[in-house]
């Protein structure tokens, strides 16, 4: 890890800080991709209460890079601490988002593909699918970490921004690479809006236009063997993001379980920083003339 940091640090220092109006969502995706050549480094936490078993603090770090204006890729590294149990690394995910249409339309689709190699001890709840329920997280880490799942996940991201309001809907399907495991389904949906639509002429950190508030809802929809809403969990979560002009974004979201199969509380927070021109900085390392 130290080696990785040593490699990345000069690139990061050479890159320019960028401001961007980041979405406040934790689970839902809108149709906006990372700007080409920019790298966004994000850290997110989820504190979850557990009815049976110990509460937990799960976290992930995310590296999001804009390869093209129509293609963004991300790498996630997940971990978690279960209180009274252990702290463990739970796996990684690699996702790609592709924008098939060149212009804005009434509804803007983005295709999402992800490969994940995560153990059953993973608790970040980046998405909820199939018959995921809170009781799944009650087993000791020593047991759950022994099973590592290899899964492919597909999402259709549909999103629209109108009069400052963003509305996003993400149906999802997940398939384990084990043939015996059925397809699992889920959803995430969100709505958000900046607190002010016009920008002030002065530079300011606490201007209303720097804050975006919204609401998201997500949950499982069963699987191909047992379709339906029985034994599924669902969450409703207010979200707020503060886009600081220096390029930092802070996010906060208290999520509430909507049924007995859900965690009662999922408190999420996150911090991210965008580095513009990261690709160019790396290019210069490979000898490209400025």
């Amino acid at each position: 890890m130290l080696l990785a940091i040593c490699w990345l640090l000069p690139w990061v220092l050479c890159a320019r800080l960028a401001g961007s109006q980041e979405s406040p969502y934790f689970v839902t995706y809108d149709h906006y991709l990372e700007e080409p050549g920019n790298l966004e480094v994000e850290y997110f936490s989820t504190f979850g209460t557990q009815g049976t078993g110990n509460d937990f603090h799960a976290y992930w770090i995310e590296f999001e890079y804009g390869v093209k204006a129509w293609y963004t890729t991300e790498l996630y590294l997940d971990g978690q601490t279960t209180f009274g149990d252990s702290t463990i690394f739970t796996g990684f995910r690699w996702e790609s988002r592709i924008r098939p249409l060149q212009r804005e339309h009434f509804l803007n689709p983005v295709l999402y593909f992800e490969y994940e190699q995560i153990s059953e001890a993973d608790k970040i709840l980046k998405e909820v699918e199939g018959h995921d329920v809170a009781q799944d997280h009650a087993a000791p880490d020593a047991l759950t970490r022994q099973t590592v799942n290899h899964e492919l996940e597909f999402k259709l991201i549909l999103s629209k921004t109108f009069n400052g309001w963003n509305i996003a809907i993400n149906p999802l399907a997940t398939k384990s690479l084990l043939p015996s495991v059925p397809w699992e389904f889920g959803y995430a949906t969100g709505v958000s809006r900046p607190l002010a639509l016009k920008a002030s002429a002065q530079s300011c950190n606490l201007c209303r236009e720097n804050f975006i508030a919204g609401l998201e809802m997500y949950g499982g929809l069963g699987d191909t063997q047992n379709p339906g809403l029985h034994d599924t969990s669902h969450y409703l979560a207010p979200v707020v993001a503060w886009n600081v002009p220096s390029g930092w974004t802070l996010r906060l979201s208290p999520g509430f379980g909507l049924n007995d199969s859900s965690h009662r509380l999922l408190l999420r927070w996150g911090v991210s920083h965008e580095f513009a021109g990261f690709g160019d900085a790396v290019g210069r390392l490979f000898g490209r003339r400025p």
């Binding site: 979405s23 080409p36 590296f63 890079y65 204006a69 920008a199 236009e209």
Partner: protein
């Protein structure tokens, strides 16, 4: 880590290596594109970079800037420009490695509606993202700033 510490350590090391490989591959892919763009900016930027303005639909060209008479619009737009646009088009809008100059005659001749449309829809194939995530009044503020440039 209480259990399997060594195993977890290897996983972290493996993941870090994977991260570096993935980033390197993607950055190089993007690098190739931006090098091509840079060549294009140097050799042929003047004409083909502005061709997108001609593709703006007729219905959008006549769009009037609702903030035309707002005396603070250009100043606010300048702030937004530095925030969102300067990294590609340069701090003074004279053009950068990726984006063409926004002080060119083609841009000065464009109507506010055309600039607003380009800002909203981007030029995705040429590397300019859609900026509809910026609220509409702020996009008009950026247009006000661009029209205020000499």
């Amino acid at each position: 880590m209480k259990d399997h510490g060594t195993c977890a350590g290897w996983r972290i090391l493996f993941s870090s290596a994977a991260l570096l490989l993935v980033l390197a591959a993607n950055v190089l892919l993007g690098f190739t594109q931006s090098r091509n763009n840079a060549v294009a900016q140097t050799d042929a930027a003047p004409r083909h970079s502005y061709a997108e303005l001609e593709k703006v639909p007729e219905s959008a060209r006549g769009g009037r800037n609702p903030l035309e008479s707002d005396p603070t619009a250009a100043a606010a737009g300048g702030k937004l420009y530095q925030h969102y646009c300067a990294v590609c088009h340069g701090n003074t809008a004279d053009g950068g490695r990726k984006g063409p100059s926004l002080r060119a005659p083609e841009v000065r001749a464009a109507t506010p509606g055309m600039l607003f449309w380009i800002l909203t829809n981007g030029v995705v194939r040429r590397g300019m993202p859609v900026w509809s995530r910026i609220p509409e009044p702020q996009r008009w503020q950026i247009v006000s700033y661009l029209k205020s440039l000499d």
